[in-house]
Symmetry: D2
Subunit: 311 residues, 4 copies
């Protein structure tokens, strides 16, 4: 294989956005969180993604969070900034902000809310790329936007230089493998394929992924960095063992009672609670209409952290 | 039945937002459009809804469009302003703008993009209502937000005074009928149930709806006003005949080639093209990633307008 | 409009299949059920549909149920027999049985389980019609087969004489209205459009439906016959009042605890329980994996029957 | 790890059912196909699965196909027989046939067509297991049955001895990994977890799968046997290389024109065409409403076979 290495590789956690009890961005906690990720050896930061509650934050809060992240990272690793809005014009507004605030790359999803077909989806990515100076990644997250980005579209946009990479949260490992094969065959220079699924990183790395964007990496960055290193050196047994430990840890997302907590509450709520228990962030507050985990739920998170050797 | 009359009744078209060729809000065309609706006898204006391309507009454009609408309406009929954002904090930002700009009521959907369950959906509407001074309507549009608002939830929120009404674009006539029965039985004061489906207004009025929010009403407001009047006076044969004419006219949404046009392009694109052909708005431009209808497609729209007696 | 009257009109209940406690078809109860429907004035019988538990019955049980129905009806009204199987060859096997057992027409759905596209769906209906001597109706029930039959397909098949009618359980009133308009404009001889949604029969009759296939018609055939008569004579206020009463009665489907009962249990289970309480059928037994309603749930059904004046 | 080895491991291809041009089961071709699989070293046969067109075959055809398979296999490897019917009573009919005809195990899906909830799904598997003497596997295929089997349900049924294994065609690698971890932690004796996704076998084996049920294994059994062997001996680089070759070969499913061919036509149609080109089966005929691949499409299949070194 003589294809140039992908531009974005390794562990690129989708940073949470810590909040104060009254809903403001908690700068100090965010700084501490980012510093801990960097100390853990991560290879990049994915700001303002789904785990970062980006669709819950006002534009001012988004700007503030990105500012803190960029400043804390200080150019040591790339910062990829989520520009998550339903349509092209609104994405462009966010991309302008990301550019102004010093992000290294931007990432956007297929349009959502708007009822669009494949032509609109393609036009969306092409229009964003044409208007933005930074590299553009596609964020494939059908569970949120209800459109799956087809392998042929992604490959075509890669070949045309529209996209610099993909973050895959589609849960479609078959399509993921086919995409990896297609971009390799097309010999696309520097194209990055990152998996967003924290419990199958070893498997997707074996399949040829460039790296991962693990929400759980907020909680255990060192674990993901070890896992990535094992994959890179071809030590698949160690990778599998580390992944199994992390898959077990991922059960913190089952801590919140599903009878009163939807997916975002269970996920972001658990990650924040874990980081609060670990002393990294001040509060486990989440944005409305989510709710923070309560005491009994936090106890369950604590137990998993202890089992994983983090507490 | 002694329940007080619903607050919002009659024909409440979801106003389009005319754009200039370079994507700005076309104030003059918008004013002309609203004046024509008022002249046609409509009973309210639904601003910044799906037909108004609200998720395509920047906040500045949304403000501008609402300003023009409120000023043109001049208090003659209520203006219900869409506050369509994925989550509670962002909806509140828009609701503040709507209040400031003089809307009479606000309307919001279930959360979208965010992965939420029934508890978050209920918390969302309660939190918005608690924070906003204007009456709040729920916009039930699962095709866009991928959550159907259950009859029991809507009825409960109506009884608790959280909601002043519902705009139903769910396509679920069974649930619509059950909701109508439930709010009538609960004797909810002034609660409005509006159908968003322009081709079944007669049927839904027979079922007990308060009125309609017909996208096609932008094109033929007088037709919908006649239809509503026939329903109100119990002249169901006339209502049916008028509805059949309008259902035929609705075929303008089939003018755009589905091979290259998604739902929003076909719908909003056709409405705008019709209004351009009718001399009401200057351009049929739509927001990216939609595309305007081309010449051949516009010819098909023209044919339907002629068949309907509008040209 | 000079189009000939549709072949199947009026109230065509989808007959339940009463079972004994040990799961056999209860011939005596079935006979009594059908006789009560006929006495109530229904205009046809829809045998072996979803309400008839057809996908739960063995082929022998299906044959037995159809035999009893055909014999009891004795040619007084048409019997339309469901041939509900995933694919063409298996539907043909059932259609042969229906023909042999004396049905007047057959009805089939789009393929299910098999992953098919529009071409396969069209080929399916054409192949069934070509192989079967009886008139063929399409059963549009996306909630079960996960394919919606498009208006253009149905209209085309109607024009080509492939289909004699449609039973619509799609919950898509917009498509239903467009279909009604399209077949009327195409002047299709004798084509029947029947709604399967028992709570909007008045509205769909106003929209131009030929009749209804109400599951709840098993419980209150006289109510549906009165409703149909009111619609036919244009007395829409009476139709609406009767429909409102029946919509209220339909709440028996909320009697079973949703925490332990899926949709089929709640629906068929409630209908059977009601008929048992009314003394029409011996047992409220349903097929595995459904469960019969328990005592507390039956009490709720009884209350609704009393409110509706049936007990 | 001291858990006993899973009962079913290795490569267990879901055998196609070759048909004659007039739609009968082609015994001779089927025998030849099975013999080639055995000669290729497969570890089991999955009969009457989705690839075997089971929902297209009449009961007589299903019996005939299973008879031929069991006889040809002659006890050298286990035969797992699909009992794919919408509901419990009908599955039991097929399970009785499978038992009578000498299958070693049976496999069934969640109910389909019927509208059921989690309780009915669980009752279904428990009722089937209770009534059948052979080991029972669950077939998790939401794309066909529109229900995903939850990890907690599968684990619970495994622990209770209801299920002997799972064939996963869910496309949900996250759930797959969590299931593997859960059954390992629960120390379930001999439980088998087989992946049905032919392009990620290496990755899923790394994650801990027992084996695979690859439709493409009909075409290249030796490739899948080599792939499995590499995984078992921990030679992940060889496994990945073999998997990449097979992922490329899987592109035969893109040979049929998607404008006129749905998923089943493209998949089963391509596999049959490949086997016809390889001289294993007589005809590439498929069941209605599918269509066989045409000449141009077959040429594309041939090209892929050549690239893969099979022709």
């Amino acid at each position: 294989m003589t294809t140039p290495a992908p531009r974005y590789t390794g562990v690129v956690p989708p940073t949470l956005t810590p909040l104060t009890e009254d809903g403001a961005v908690d700068d100090v906690s965010l700084e501490r969180l980012v510093e801990r990720l960097l100390a853990g050896g991560v290879h990049g930061i994915f700001a303002l993604g789904s785990s970062g509650e980006t669709v819950f934050l006002t534009d001012e809060q988004r700007d503030r969070a990105l500012e803190v992240i960029v400043k804390t990272v200080g150019g040591t690793v790339p910062v990829i900034a989520g520009c998550i809005e339903p349509t092209t014009p609104r994405v462009l507004t966010r991309a302008a902000a990301a550019t102004r605030l010093g992000a290294d790359a931007v990432v956007t999803t297929a349009p959502f809310y708007a009822i669009v077909g494949p032509h609109e989806v393609e036009r969306h990515f092409r229009a964003v790329a044409a208007a933005v100076d930074l590299p553009l990644l596609a964020y494939d997250i059908p569970v949120c936007v209800h459109t799956k980005l087809p392998v042929a579209l992604l490959t075509g946009l890669a070949v045309d230089g529209v996209l610099a990479g993909v973050k895959d949260s589609s849960g479609d490992d078959v399509g993921f493998r086919q995409l990896l094969l297609a971009v390799r065959e097309a010999d696309v220079e520097g194209f990055s394929v990152l998996t967003g699924h924290e419990v199958v990183v070893d498997a997707m790395m074996l399949a040829g992924a460039s790296g991962s964007v693990p929400g759980l990496g907020n909680v255990d960055p060192e674990g993901y960095v070890r896992l990535h290193a094992a994959c890179v050196r071809g030590d698949w047994e160690s990778a599998r063992a580390e992944q199994d430990r992390l898959t077990r840890l991922f059960r913190i997302v089952d801590a919140a009672d599903p009878a009163t907590a939807g997916g975002a509450t269970r996920g972001v709520g658990a990650f924040k609670t874990a980081l609060q228990l670990l002393g990294v962030i001040e509060s486990n507050a989440v944005s409305l209409p989510l709710r923070p985990l309560d005491g009994a739920e936090a106890t369950r998170v604590r137990t998993e952290l202890e089992l994983a050797g983090l507490l």
